[in-house]
């Protein structure tokens, strides 16, 4: 069970890096130090962009913030560099949060241009302000003082920076392999599904920026005191694009990829001096070629090669034939129903309305679902079924009305809050996290650590690993109940459609919901899979979960659901037992038209 994989490569790499300076002349040692620093900045960028999916074109500005704050505090105000360093790093984190604020509202290329704009603003501030030394920058920055060690010597600097980098790489790898990294990647892959799995999207967007700032800030401080000269050119758009190239060429969501990308490009830039234009041409062309031909970079190409070379993982392209054993009920679900007590209301929707620019998707919809019931919601396409689910699960806010879950008013709560209140859902068009593996998809919903628990990464990293192991075991147990354990390590999208549907239901159950909303779970399933689904829905209910199903498949609805609500044009037109509803003239009219309804009624 690998969480943070330490193969034979890591110690080997450590030995090489420790011995390396012996073979380097003074200039090359200096270049080596620069490489290590850029590796830090690039890893930070890969955490923001590759993992968090936040287009951050201000990473070079974060690097510059760390360097300039430390430079100004030590050169202008005479602070001790060791005192200035934490202040500079904190300032960079703060700067990253400020630049990240627009990310709460805008994403993708919009965020790209906003952060790029702020980076341009920062570069212009450095060039024009007097306290930054203007275009000529700040020189004669004091080196880091260390008794007995001369830190103006590039060889000593190399070991100091290497040690810091080792710590940062360990932290990045820990983040990448555990809860925090998984939540960032889930958010990147599918924001809506991530929110519905209990992830507080705004916090994680800011957290992504914070991580980028932290890594860039540390690198900036060391840059200032090792190079001992800072100028606006170092932290401008050229550096930003260089960083971007490192991360893309290396592989966006790989810590090692970013490191390798940084090493290659900085080495190329500094060792091929005098050929700047050609080298720029080559790296520009490399970026274009990478995104066109190998969008996941060197890391992606490497893992593809590894997969091809290694012994094939035992998987089957379709569900195992043989005795079809319906999955066992998830034992982890708490028993909420006391058989003797009168049925309580699990969900109460009262006069809920939702309008999209004047178009009424829901008008005054009311319904009640008893705890432990399997409730069906049917209606023609466009009748507002999914919008109703979106309102209940907190993805859309209603314009009016009230939603109660187990007697508690939850109107207008956000999706992640609803998830944590025990409301889980699946989506009509399948929203798995495509680049996460099957087990990771389940773990995203299964682990319910609050945001503040991420402090563990700094204060008690070992406890993160222990929890991770427990979460993984629980996720694998849940997958075993769905007979999905053999594909646990596969990317979710590589599974056949029917199995992806199962993964989505497993993910929804992983959060131990008391109310499960299934949006067209039978769509795209073959007859055998539909029979499995019926049994599964009953078993989920038997374990104490109230289930609400939107479905077009009438066979499934009629045989599984105990009560139905029928929507048409955003209104409830009928409700009752399947038998009652199937005799309702209005329902027949909604589905088949007036004439048929009339004939049926006669």
């Amino acid at each position: 069970m690998r969480i943070v994989r330490i193969g034979p490569g890591t110690p080997l790499l450590a030995v090489v890096l420790v011995v390396l300076p012996v073979f380097l002349d003074l200039y090359k040692a200096h270049v080596a130090v620069l490489i290590l620093l850029f590796v830090m900045v690039a890893i930070g960028l890969s955490l923001v962009m590759g993992f968090g999916g936040q287009v951050n074109l201000a990473q070079a500005a974060f690097f510059g913030t760390g360097a300039y704050v430390s430079a100004i505090l030590t050169s202008t105000y005479g602070w001790n560099p060791w005192l200035a360093a934490p202040v500079a790093i904190l300032s960079t984190c703060l700067m990253a949060l400020v630049v990240g604020l627009p990310a709460l509202r805008v994403q993708s290329h919009y965020l790209g241009i906003v952060s790029l704009g702020l980076a341009v603003a920062f570069a212009s501030l450095l060039t024009n302000a007097t306290f930054t030394g203007g275009a000529s920058g700040i020189s004669k920055i004091p080196p880091l003082p260390m008794p007995g060690v001369d830190l103006t010597d590039d060889y000593n600097d190399y070991y100091l920076v290497l040690a810091v980098l080792a710590l940062l790489v360990a932290l990045a790898r820990l983040i990448a392999g555990t809860t925090l990294g998984r939540r960032l990647r889930a958010m990147r892959d599918d924001t809506l599904a991530a929110a519905a799995s209990g992830i507080e999207i705004p916090y994680y967007r800011l957290l992504a920026f914070l991580l980028g700032g932290l890594f860039a800030g540390v690198a900036g401080v060391f840059y200032a005191h090792i190079v001992r000269y800072v100028s606006p050119d170092t932290f401008g758009l050229d550096t930003m694009f260089l960083l971007l190239a490192m991360v893309i060429i290396g592989g966006q969501d790989s810590v090692w990829g970013a490191a390798v990308g940084a090493a290659l490009l900085i080495a190329a830039r500094n060792l091929l001096t005098g050929l700047e234009a050609y080298q720029q041409l080559v790296y520009g062309a490399l970026i274009v070629a990478t995104v066109v031909f190998a969008p996941r970079g060197l890391a992606g190409a490497a893992s593809a090669a590894r997969r091809r070379l290694s012994f094939p993982w035992p998987t089957l392209p379709f569900p195992v034939p043989g005795p079809r054993r319906p999955p066992a009920p998830p034992p982890s679900v708490p028993e909420v129903r006391d058989p003797g007590a009168p049925a309580t209301v699990a969900l109460k929707v009262e006069a809920v309305s939702k309008r999209f620019r004047g178009l009424a998707a829901l008008s005054e919809v009311s319904l009640e679902v008893a705890a432990g019931e399997i409730h069906g919601i049917i209606g023609p396409n466009g009748s507002g079924k999914t919008t109703l689910f979106n309102v209940i699960s907190g993805i859309e806010r209603p314009n009016g009305g009230r939603v109660e879950v187990h007697g508690r008013d939850v109107t207008g709560r956000r999706a992640h809050q609803m998830s944590r209140l025990g409301v889980a859902r699946t989506f009509q068009n399948l929203r798995l996290f495509p680049r996460l593996t099957v087990v990771e998809n389940v773990m995203v919903a299964l682990d319910r650590d609050p945001v503040r628990a991420h402090l563990r990464y700094l204060v008690a990293p070992w406890s993160v690993l222990a929890r991770e192991r427990r979460h993984r075991e629980r996720a694998l147990r849940l997958l075993a109940e769905f007979r999905l354990e053999s594909v646990a390590g596969e990317p979710a999208v590589s599974l056949p459609y029917g199995r992806q549907r199962q993964v989505e239901i497993a993910r929804a159950l992983a959060g131990r919901p008391s109310l499960l909303l299934l949006d067209e779970p039978a769509a795209g399933l073959n007859a055998a899979e539909q029979e499995d689904l019926k049994a599964l829905i009953r078993r989920i209910r038997d374990a104490g979960v109230t289930v609400i199903v939107i479905e077009h498949n009438m066979g499934l609805v009629m045989s599984v659901c105990e009560r139905l609500t029928v929507l048409a044009h955003g209104r409830v037109i009928a409700s009752g037992t399947p038998w009652e509803v199937s005799r309702d003239a209005q329902v027949i009219e909604a589905y088949l038209g007036r004439d048929t309804a009339h004939q049926e009624a006669v």
Partner: protein
């Protein structure tokens, strides 16, 4: 009072250049969903080509400009062909792929024209015209006139010609357009050519105001792109308004605090986008569950 008018005129004339850049971005984006960061460097190439014909070959400015439009138009077709696999794909990849293409263009410019910039004289004598206390230069008027003419031409092309209408159809629904017999690939190539041609006009016009250098794309391109987003990405009227607003904000912030003009402009832009994320004319898109 006169200061406000004076600053506004300066802002409008640079704003007109930003609007041209923004329209070029938008026309490519709306037809093929490609966010083209290389556009900034197409502006730079357009400026250099104009300068080369104008100063080195001593051709009239208008002829140089036409040549630049044709050459960058052809360049646009090349970019479209190379980046075609990225159309409507992962936005991050698109962003980075087009930035990569921009880096290639910049390095080509360094190889061809050297890394130092060129100062360019204005194509017409730059005379100050006085209206009361107000001073307007002839070159400012020329910029506004050319930008206005190009914009009118673009609207005529999109609304009145068969090719333009087809391009609009592709923008609205690519599949339906294909079904109606529109050659989508050709239409996209044309959109790229038109967008790049407009970039050349912007580059040629801004040349005498700035210094023509391989790195000039960065500042004008970022502002043009930001203007397009501010106006509402993909909207042509939005691009015009966004460009003019950007020019004005920049002009007014550089009056009293010239050193901090970029800082103020982009912070204002970031705030504006945070408040209204779809820009001025943008449509809000609904993420369907």
């Amino acid at each position: 009072m006169i200061w406000i008018l004076q600053t506004a005129i300066g802002g409008l004339s640079t704003g007109a250049v930003y609007a041209l850049v923004a329209m070029g971005f938008s026309i490519v984006y709306r037809t093929m969903g490609l966010v083209n960061f290389a556009h900034a460097d197409v502006v730079m190439i357009g400026a250099y080509v104009t300068v080369t014909f104008f100063l080195t070959a001593h051709l009239p400015f208008g002829v140089s400009l036409l040549a630049a439009i044709l050459i960058t138009g052809a360049l646009g077709v090349v970019i479209e062909r190379v980046l075609r696999p990225l159309e409507s794909r992962d936005l991050n990849l698109m962003l980075i792929g087009t930035i990569g293409f921009g880096i290639v263009l910049e390095s080509l410019a360094i190889l061809i024209w050297g890394s130092f910039g060129t100062a360019v004289p204005t194509p017409i004598p730059n005379l100050p015209l006085r209206f009361g206390g107000l001073v307007v230069t002839t070159y400012q008027l020329l910029i506004l006139a050319v930008a206005g003419a190009v914009t009118a031409l673009l609207f005529w092309f999109l609304d009145r010609t068969k090719l333009g209408t087809a391009m609009q159809a592709v923008a609205m629904d690519r599949v339906a357009a294909t079904a109606m017999g529109v050659d989508v690939a050709a239409s996209n190539a044309l959109a790229f050519a038109v967008g790049s041609g407009m970039a050349a006009v912007a580059g040629a016009l801004v040349g005498p105001l700035l210094y023509v250098s391989p790195g000039m794309g960065a500042s004008i391109g970022v502002k043009g792109f930001a203007a397009a987003i501010l106006g509402g990405f993909g909207s042509i009227p939005g691009a015009i308004v966004g460009g003019l607003v950007f020019g004005l904000v920049e002009a007014f912030s550089s009056g009293p605090l010239s050193a901090y003009s970029d800082l103020i402009t982009f912070v204002v832009f970031a705030l504006a986008m945070t408040i209204r994320q779809t820009g001025i004319f943008g449509e809000r898109t609904v993420d369907r569950a």
